[in-house]
Symmetry: C2
Subunit: 332 residues, 2 copies
């Protein structure tokens, strides 16, 4: 099954949707109709439908991924046209709204190309554990949403990635247990301000302003049973021209290993998002290219779909820090 989120109606209410051949099925509207055909009043049907299919996927998954998929399948099996949203009319939200967004670096080729630009080899630790940083859930945007261009960057890039969405939580998991905890997979574009990322690198705290302004997810989540996550074809196009092509088969760290490592000594939660990291040659930095305002970036992953976003114009407001004078004293 394919599950997403859209903003619906005049007040842009977040709604869970399932994907049908004809379009997106609003699960609340479909479930209300299903109950009313059984003689339930609209008021009671609405109360239950909104409880079963909240606008937050994380809240829905807190009841269990199996329960959600079973109830979504029932609604999908008998929806009428009032529940159907044509693909081209949908206002997409990020399909997941995680409590924690973890962004890994699991593709050696991307790491090698990135470090080589700094005149360095891939650190030996890359082969000892999967490196990652945490993104900002507040920066998540959906399919077709515009990408803000912060005033502090003149060097904008995309990153071609896929993202796992956790269906259930857990801690100290083993790779062989991981698949049963994964709800599905979506496409992710980890937009990056490269000039900012270079300035932040020396601090040892990882990317921050370089990443948090926007991270695109979508268009929807394909459940794990419909995919072979070990050979997902991945393609990036900029303004219709192919820039990147790769496959999840080239990962140094497997998706199940990422889940197990991230659950080591801490708690993963339902709805959490785990990004794969950029596939080899999956960003402009590796190709010696940059994005421009207004560029349209399409990321396509076989078995899921195509995530499309257009870059906005550079912003002019915001506080530019006033440099500080270094403290005169020595080390204390």
């Amino acid at each position: 099954m394919r599950i997403g989120r859209v903003a619906r109606g005049a007040d842009a209410t977040p709604r869970l949707v399932a994907v049908a051949p004809e379009g997106l099925v609003d699960l609340v509207t479909a479930d209300i109709a299903l109950s009313m055909r059984r003689g339930v009043t609209r008021e009671a049907a609405t109360r239950v439908a909104e409880a079963k299919f909240p606008g937050s996927l994380t809240t829905a998954l807190d009841r269990g991924a199996g329960v959600l998929l079973e109830e979504a399948a029932a609604a999908l099996a008998s929806f009428d046209e009032r529940a159907l949203i044509p693909f081209d009319e949908a206002v997409f939200l990020p399909p997941a709204n995680p409590r924690v967004l973890r962004c890994c670096s699991a593709f050696e080729e991307h790491a090698r190309n990135g470090f080589s630009r700094l005149g360095r080899d891939v650190p030996a630790t890359f082969y000892e554990f999967p490196p990652y940083y945490k993104g900002s859930p507040a920066g998540l945007i959906g399919h077709r949403a515009p990408v803000r261009w912060p005033g502090y960057t003149q060097s904008m890039d995309y990153e071609l990635e896929f993202a796992l969405v956790m269906g259930s939580g857990g801690t100290n998991l083993q790779p062989e247990d991981a698949a049963s905890h994964i709800f599905g997979v979506t496409v992710m574009n980890d937009f990056s301000a490269r000039d900012t990322q270079s300035r932040e690198a020396g601090q040892g705290l990882g990317p921050a302003k370089a990443k948090d302004f926007a991270t695109a997810l979508g268009p929807w989540i394909t459940t794990l049973d419909e995919l072979d996550i070990h050979s997902l074809p991945m393609i990036a196009r900029v303004n219709g021209v192919e820039w990147s092509r790769g496959s999840s088969s080239t990962m140094t760290w497997l998706p199940e290993e990422l889940v197990a490592y991230l659950a080591y000594g801490e708690e993963l939660l339902p709805g959490d998002v785990i990004a794969s990291g950029t596939v080899g040659k999956g960003c402009g930095m590796e190709l010696g290219k940059e994005l421009a305002p207004g560029d349209i970036v399409e990321l396509e992953i076989g078995g899921i779909g195509t995530l499309t976003n257009q870059l906005g114009r550079p912003e002019t407001s915001g506080w530019r820090p006033v440099p500080r004078r270094q403290f005169a004293g020595g080390t204390s």
Copy 2:
């Protein structure tokens, strides 16, 4: 005012509390009594009280910090003993449950001592913008909660910090606007696995497993009007012995500047937490000391209170990554 969160009752329901001299006041219970004295039925009073004072501070702040404080003041003005929780009986939750947890490094002395251990000077960029990384909201624990000790570390440390809690969101703010967006301040202990942090440093993605297992906040949030955030006295004790003493007056980047910088080109949200970074000599690493299983760490900040947490025993389960062989090919 001082606002916190506790787990109450057999099902450990999260409840917002306000601090009174005699103890913690459960705002839902107090508000129900207030409405019932006005003739409202218990059922109706409960429905409204739970809507006004949800267990999530972030959800409460989405209605506006002013509204929350006004309604809390009314409940606090006339509570009866059923709403009162003695301090020593309270099960504290982290007072904030942010959508995004940002951890800055605003104290030059801590940066200098940290980099000097690596034989390096503080990077010039430290004086150009305030560096930060994002923590994991899933790792937040409250006052008196035990601290898990992940199986991957043999080097545990504390970090003496304070944390701002945003009362309202915003983007592209200026420092002079920042104070009006800050709800209050709490004490934060950013527990750190130093051996893991060293291994992660070379990857350029910042601390991850080194930090995410546990971050303590509490015991409660003191609203900004009751504090001078530019001269907060900060003290750390381990097993009753003072290890660290400092002040927020030594910050290179002021709290208002941190808010403005973090809002630059991205959206801050109500309830978001912004940590100050470690005050100079505010952790064992700067003192050549480490924590041991069972140690009790108390962090005290004048005008707020004391955050106490005890370290657990090292865990033995979890997946230790199997090292990978480096790819033979060159840079592509």
